[in-house]
C-alpha cells in the first residue's frame, strides 16, 4: 500500500466517504462524476487491486484529456476502471486505449467538445483479446459481456471524470449516442478470411493492439440476398454513400465491420482487404444531387478536398466518401448472420493503433506480463 498511500496524500487525490454503496453513489452523482449509471465505489483497496495489472509507476503521466486537460495517470485511470466494473486484468487495455486517444492525430479535444455524436470505439486485436474474453462474436457491440461493457465504460468515465466531458459544458454533443456509454469489441480473427487488423498494420501476429476510432454507432447492412462478392460489396458501398455522415466532407477513415459470413462470401472470390478497400473507394460515391443545393454551394464547392473537382459539377457528379484507395478500415466482427456494418467517423480525426507493450518496450504476449511482481 505504500506507493498508493503516498500518491493518495496529494491534495485532491482522495476523499473520505461513508463506506456505503448508496451513499458513495449519491456523492458521485451530486458532484457530476460519472455517466448516470451506478458506479462501483473506487476505494483505495479496489484501486490498488486494479493496479496489480499496471507495470508502470502509478503516478506517471499517460496523457492529458481535454477539454479540462486533466492529467491521466494509472492511478486516476484505475479509479475510473473500478467505477466502470472492470476486472483488474482489463486495465492494460483501458490504459493503452487512453494513451492512443491522447495522440495528436486523434484530435481528442475536437471529439470531446464537438456537437457531433461520435463515441470512442475501442477495437482490440491479438491473443490478449482472446485471453481476456473480449467478445468478438454474437452481439459483440451489444450487452452481455463484462470485458466489452466495462472496458468501454472505463474509457468513457475517464473522458468524463478526468477530461471534464460533461453535457453542455465540456461535451457539446447535440444529442450524443448510446455508444457513448461503452463501445468496445474484439476482432473475430478466427472467423476472418483476411489478416487481422493489427497484422495488416504491420504488427506481429502474436502482438496485441488497441485501435481507437472516433466513431458513430454501427449502421447495419442487411444483405441476405447477395451470393457474390460484388453483391455484398455493392450493398455495403451503398450504405457508405450517405449524405449525413461527416465522412463526405472529411478524410476521416471510417470503418467497415464485416460479419464473418459476408466476409467469407467476399473472400471466396479472391478479394483481399486491399481489393475491398479499392472497391469502396471506387463505388461508395454519392451523387451531388443527393445533397442540398446549399450544402453543395457552401461546402462541397469550397472545401479544399473538392474545390477543383466539383466547382462546376452537375447533380450527377459522384462524390467519393472514401478519399483514397486505402482510406477505410476493415475488420471482421460478429457471429452468424448475413449482416455487416458501416461505422462513420468524426472525420477530423484519425484512428490510432497502439500495441500493448510492457514497461521495457517489448510486446506483451499475455496480460500476465503486466502483473506487478
Amino acid at each position: 500500500m505504500s506507493e498508493l498511500g503516498d500518491l493518495l496524500k496529494a491534495p485532491g487525490a482522495s476523499l473520505e466517504a461513508e463506506d456505503d454503496f448508496e451513499a458513495v453513489n449519491e456523492l458521485y452523482r451530486a458532484r457530476g462524476w460519472g455517466d448516470g449509471l451506478p458506479i462501483v465505489p473506487p476505494s483505495a483497496e479496489r484501486v490498488e487491486r486494479m493496479l496489480a495489472y499496471c507495470d508502470r509507476p502509478w503516478g506517471e503521466p499517460v496523457g492529458r484529456i481535454p477539454p479540462r486537460w486533466g492529467e491521466a495517470t494509472p492511478l486516476r485511470l484505475a479509479a475510473n476502471a473500478v467505477m466502470a466494473g472492470c476486472r483488474p486484468e482489463y486495465f492494460p487495455v483501458v490504459l493503452h486505449a487512453l494513451e492512443a486517444m491522447c495522440e495528436e492525430r486523434f484530435n481528442f479535444y475536437g471529439i470531446q467538445a464537438t456537437t457531433h455524436p461520435c463515441a470512442a470505439l475501442v477495437l482490440v486485436n491479438g491473443p490478449i483479446a482472446r485471453e481476456l474474453g473480449i467478445n468478438c462474436g454474437h452481439n459483440a457491440f451489444g450487452p452481455g459481456w463484462q470485458a466489452n461493457a466495462t472496458i468501454g465504460r472505463a474509457v468513457r468515465l475517464a473522458m468524463i471524470n478526468i477530461g471534464g466531458a460533461l453535457p453542455g459544458s465540456g461535451d457539446m454533443a447535440t444529442f450524443g449516442s448510446p455508444a457513448k456509454y461503452t463501445y468496445c469489441a474484439a476482432e473475430n480473427e478466427e472467423a476472418s478470411p483476411w489478416e487481422p487488423l493489427h497484422v495488416e498494420l504491420g504488427f506481429p501476429r502474436e502482438a496485441s493492439t488497441v485501435t481507437v476510432f472516433a466513431a458513430e454507432a454501427p449502421h447495419n447492412v442487411n444483405d441476405h440476398e447477395s451470393l457474390s462478392a460484388e453483391g455484398v460489396l455493392t450493398s455495403i458501398a451503398g450504405t457508405i454513400a450517405i449524405p449525413g455522415a461527416n465522412n463526405i466532407y472529411f478524410d476521416g477513415e471510417p470503418l467497415v465491420v464485416f460479419g464473418p459470413e459476408h466476409a467469407a462470401t467476399v473472400a471466396r472470390e479472391g478479394y483481399s482487404k486491399a481489393d475491398v478497400k479499392k472497391f469502396f473507394y471506387e463505388r461508395a460515391r454519392l451523387p451531388l444531387g443527393k445533397l442540398s443545393r446549399e450544402n453543395v454551394e457552401r461546402r462541397i464547392r469550397v472545401y479544399p478536398l473538392y474545390k477543383g473537382e466539383f466547382v462546376h459539377a452537375g447533380p450527377e457528379a459522384l462524390v467519393p466518401i472514401i478519399k483514397s484507395p486505402d482510406g477505410v478500415y476493415i475488420a471482421v466482427v460478429g457471429g452468424a448472420g448475413k449482416h455487416s456494418a458501416y461505422v462513420p467517423t468524426f472525420g477530423s480525426s484519425r484512428p490510432v493503433t497502439r500495441a500493448l507493450r510492457r514497461r521495457d518496450g517489448e510486446f506483451a504476449r499475455s496480460i500476465e506480463d503486466f502483473r506487478r511482481r
Binding site: P67, R68, W69, A113, G164, G168, S169, G170, M172
Partner: protein
C-alpha cells in the same frame, strides 16, 4: 487565444449562448479566467450570410469597448 492574452494583446472569444460555459471552462483551464467572452445569438452554424453579418454587428460594441479600454 490564452497565449495571446498572456502576451498583453487585446483578445476575446466570440461565442453563442450554449457555448459560453465551455468557453469559460476553457479560459480557466488555460489560466486566463478573465478572458472576455463576447456573446452572440445562437446559432452561428447553418445560417445565411446576412445573419452572420448581424452576429458580427452584435459583437462589435463589446469588441470596441475592449479596444478602447486597452487604448487607455
Amino acid at each position: 487565444m490564452a497565449e495571446l492574452r498572456r502576451r498583453g494583446l487585446v483578445t476575446a472569444v466570440v461565442c453563442s449562448g450554449p457555448f459560453l460555459k465551455l468557453g469559460r471552462n476553457q479560459a480557466r483551464t488555460f489560466g486566463v479566467p478573465d478572458l472576455p467572452l463576447i456573446e452572440i445569438a445562437h446559432p452561428l452554424g447553418g445560417i445565411a450570410l446576412d445573419e452572420v453579418r448581424e452576429r458580427a454587428r452584435q459583437a462589435l460594441p463589446a469588441w470596441l469597448e475592449l479596444l478602447e479600454k486597452h487604448a487607455k
